[in-house]
């Protein structure tokens, strides 16, 4: 790995040596963005361990427990045996919830959204799983390898009509999407680039479930893309896209929107784009810098990302649940608008304010009720149940610490503690009602 100079400016490392620079608030912010929620233990460990320690633990692969490996394998085999996408969804949801590598799962979801492919058309568990494993293999690794891999991925080829792309009748679907959605973004190519690139990808087909270069259907004549001419094939197009200045900027913009803030400035995008080029599209060093950076911890980037359904549901389950019933959780996520392995279109889930409408707010509120007080989707962790019986102030403070990174201001804290005081019933019932209230707050929809 070549020696790369450290970042400066917006991406220079956040200074935790100052007094009050590393508190529960920073720890919760880091974990909230890089994971799906956090367990009480993870939060304590992050506060005690500090920024660098926590980032290392997120980026560097951690060993999975025997229990996780057995459960994950059993769920995967079930999906293969049944051939039902519902079972593959549960396999992945379980991974997100139970893994010792939550950032890897969050990044896998990021790429699934980026290369959004739906089983609705692909109709194959092995192919959807293979795409997911391609993402895992390179998700925290090389984007170059990932993009090349995706251009030959069978699920992607089925999804974007690869087999219809033939020498005399090119099909533009994949060529358009690789430029518009996977590498460059709108405005960074012309229609002619797409038409020519489609010819370069002609003959890149699927046969018997595997990639097949259909020579007879491949257009071998000269193509002109981005002003360059040659007898390009698909791989050459991928390389041409990667060398466009728009590519690291497009990728940077997407990383910033997912992990840092909903409307990144041009300066932020430029800064990340520079680092992506410096690191030759390697995601681990880029994410390490981003998650440790000044801008990441800036006040303007805190509590301003609306939680996706997975952030809300899997995050809450990671914080609060001892055991989970996955089928109803999977259905809830679909109703909330984030049905993994079945994105609404190749554009994926745009997220942000678009997660929120009256229907989804009511579902989120009902989820809070169910998780806090019901038994249809989960049982509460012992550590949570043990909070019951404390004084209202203490119970409120503990819930706020775990679920809101201690972010409730004095007035809100007083209202939460007041609610705990007013509701009737056993200590456990009062705790449950307070959990329900906190999880239905508009504040709780943010991270």
């Amino acid at each position: 790995m070549p020696n790369v100079a450290p970042p400066d400016g917006l991406l220079k490392p956040y200074d935790t040596t100052r007094d009050g620079a590393w508190t529960i608030s920073e720890a919760a912010h880091l974990l909230g963005r890089s994971q799906f929620g956090c367990t009480p233990a993870e939060l304590d460990q992050a506060v005690a361990g500090g920024l660098n320690d926590t980032v290392e633990r997120l980026i560097v692969p951690q060993p999975e427990s025997a229990e996780f490996r057995q459960a994950e394998e059993a769920l995967r085999k079930t999906a293969f045996a049944t051939g039902e996408i519902a079972d593959l969804k549960i396999w992945w949801l379980y991974r997100m919830w139970a893994t010792a590598n939550p950032l890897a799962e969050k990044v896998a979801l990021f790429w699934h959204n980026h290369f959004a492919t739906s089983n609705d058309k692909v109709r194959s568990i092995p192919q959807m799983l293979a795409q997911n494993e391609l993402i895992r293999a390179h998700g925290l690794g090389s984007f170059k390898s990932l993009l090349h891999g995706m251009s030959r991925d069978t699920a992607m080829l089925v999804w974007l009509d690869g087999n219809a792309n033939r020498k005399r009748h090119p099909n533009e679907n994949f060529a358009r999407e690789i430029m518009e959605l996977f590498a460059l973004g709108v405005g960074n190519y012309i229609e002619k680039d797409i038409q020519e690139a489609a010819r370069a990808f002609s003959g890149w087909h699927v046969r018997e479930g595997a990639f097949w270069f259909n020579q007879l259907q491949h257009d071998e004549s000269t193509k002109t893309v981005f002003g360059k001419s040659g007898n390009f094939d698909g791989a050459a197009i991928v390389d041409l896209c990667l060398s466009q200045p728009a590519c690291p900027r497009f990728l940077g913009m997407k990383l910033l929107k997912t992990f840092v803030c909903p409307e990144p400035s041009i300066a932020m995008i430029d800064a990340v784009a520079v680092r992506i080029r410096e690191h030759d599209y390697n995601m681990s060093p880029v994410l390490r810098e981003l998650l440790s950076s000044q801008v990441f911890f800036d006040a303007s980037c805190r509590r301003n990302v609306i939680k996706s359904p997975l952030d809300l549901v899997v995050g809450s389950l990671r914080s609060l649940a001892a055991t989970v019933k996955w089928p109803p959780v999977s259905r809830l996520l679909a109703n909330l608008g984030q049905d993994i392995f079945e994105p609404p279109s190749v554009k994926g889930w745009e997220g942000g304010r678009l997660w929120i409408n009256s229907s989804s707010i009511l579902l989120r509120t009902n989820f809070a009720t169910e998780l806090a007080s019901g038994d249809q989707i989960a049982t509460l962790r012992t550590a949570i149940v043990d909070m019951a019986g404390g004084a209202s102030e203490a119970v409120a403070a503990q819930i706020e610490r775990l679920l809101m990174g201690g972010a409730a201001d004095a007035a809100l804290h007083s209202e939460i503690a007041g609610h705990h005081h007013r509701v009737e019933g056993t200590a456990l019932q009062k705790l449950r009602s307070t959990l329900q209230l906190v999880m239905s707050l508009p504040e709780y929809q943010l991270q």
């Binding site: 358009r176 301003n304 929120i356 009256s358 009720t369 007080s373 009602s433």
Partner: protein, 412 residues
């Protein structure tokens, strides 16, 4: 038993639910009617059906007499014998039987050659353009209806309500920085579950939820957005709880998704829910391969649903209140592709079903030979249709919302 608007207001009052704004006296008075057969301004409703994916206008309104059509579409062309002829040159796709009946009843206007300059063939860009009405804005943040609702909200908040039905996310058309539009799939979805709490605790919690959500909003931050959205959701849930009890009809709606959404709109109109604008989406128009069967099914779904809806409106004496129109992000290429389908194109057509008794064709059918890069040229900017809906139907001045003056089309 029908639930009138007055009952709704009482419901809002007695339940102590925060209202969506002050209710001015005009809200409850009758205004003069614009023309016979057309409802008073404050009763008029706009229903938009999004044909998602890019509807093939050429196979919807077929230029059957033009030899260039048959030449361009040897595999997927609709033959002269099959079209439902409207005149000597164009006819409807054979599955549009319900639409044809409405046309004969004088209720259908068809706008031909509709599009915009420098068409974009990306679904997402082109749909954004149709929804924002801002072809030059690469990152639109709001939609034409959102802006219209804001204008309305500033003057008469009670008339600024809208609903998106059956969509997973709020269409950009409705997005605005201040007015929040609910979305809905089924009435039953729109309820808070009781959980296991006692009645007393449930009421305490509901009250606390409302109070903690309904804090003043000024900064346009994500938190403010969430607060407003939460308040809207909680309010709508209460209102819609009483709807399902009051609706009856003799019309037999087809069992399709679109029909069920239009039926839901009819129910809401019957119960006098204040929403003024509705958007529903019909998906599946991106027919890159094997177009004929899929497109025929969609045409049948569209036609059957609209026919039943219009019959239901007549039965409930509501048809003078509703203007319904379709829209799609682009048409498709003239020449079919190698997979018996069509690729993304440009200009297309749309249907409007209106209470004015004058069916007709507006604009010109684009030439199939004088093309731009293989695509039909437009002759009516889609914003003219919006201007018509805003100025003539909702009586909201369009120029500020659309960023310019666009000549209206005489469809209403």
């Amino acid at each position: 038993m029908t639930t009138t608007r007055r009952d709704f207001l009482q419901l809002l009052g007695t339940a102590g639910i925060v209202s969506l704004g002050t209710i001015p006296p005009q809200f409850l008075t009758r205004a003069a009617q614009a023309a016979p057969g057309i409802a008073a301004r404050d009763k008029r409703v706009l229903v938009l059906i999004q044909l998602a994916g890019g509807n093939d206008g050429l196979n919807t309104l077929v230029p059957y007499a033009d030899p260039a059509y048959e030449k361009a579409r040897p595999g997927i062309g609709i033959s002269k014998g099959q079209v439902l002829k409207l005149n000597d040159s164009v006819g409807l796709h054979p599955s549009l039987t319900g639409m044809r009946e409405l046309y004969d009843e004088g209720k259908v206007s068809i706008v031909q050659g509709i599009g915009y300059p420098n068409p974009d063939r990306s679904h997402f860009r082109s749909m954004d353009i149709w929804q924002s009405a801002q072809p030059l804005n690469e990152n639109p943040r709001d939609g034409w209806l959102g802006r219209a609702l804001e204008w309305q909200f500033d003057r008469q908040p009670a008339l600024a309500e809208a609903l998106s039905l059956g969509t997973d996310k709020l269409p950009l058309a409705f997005v605005s920085t201040r007015v929040n539009v609910p979305t809905l799939r089924r009435l039953e979805e729109f309820q808070l579950v009781d959980g296991q709490a006692t009645v007393a605790n449930r009421n305490l919690t509901r009250a606390a939820q409302r109070q903690l959500a309904d804090k003043p909003s000024t900064s346009g931050s994500e938190l403010d957005f969430l607060r407003r959205a939460t308040t809207t959701a909680l309010t709508s849930a209460e209102r819609l709880k009483s709807l399902s009890a009051s609706y009856r009809t003799t019309v037999s709606y087809p069992g399709t998704s679109l029909a069920s959404k239009l039926k839901l709109i009819a129910q809401m109109l019957t119960a006098d829910l204040p929403a003024r604008v509705f958007v529903v989406s019909l998906d599946g128009f991106d027919t890159h391969s094997g177009q004929l069967p899929g497109h025929a099914a969609l045409m049948a779904e569209l036609s059957g649903a609209i026919r039943a809806f219009e019959q239901d409106l007549v039965e409930h004496k509501l048809s003078d209140r509703v203007l319904l129109a379709t829209y799609s992000e682009f048409g498709r290429r003239v020449v079919e592709n190698g997979s018996l389908g069509t690729d993304h194109g440009a200009a297309s057509m749309l249907f409007a079903v209106t209470p004015s008794e004058r069916s007709g064709l507006h604009g010109k059918y684009p030439s199939l030979t004088d093309l731009t890069d293989g695509d039909l040229k437009f002759n009516i900017d889609f914003r003219s249709v919006y201007a018509t809906m805003l100025d003539k139907w909702l009586e909201i001045p369009s120029a500020g919302i659309l960023g310019g003056e666009f000549s209206p089309i005489p469809i209403v």
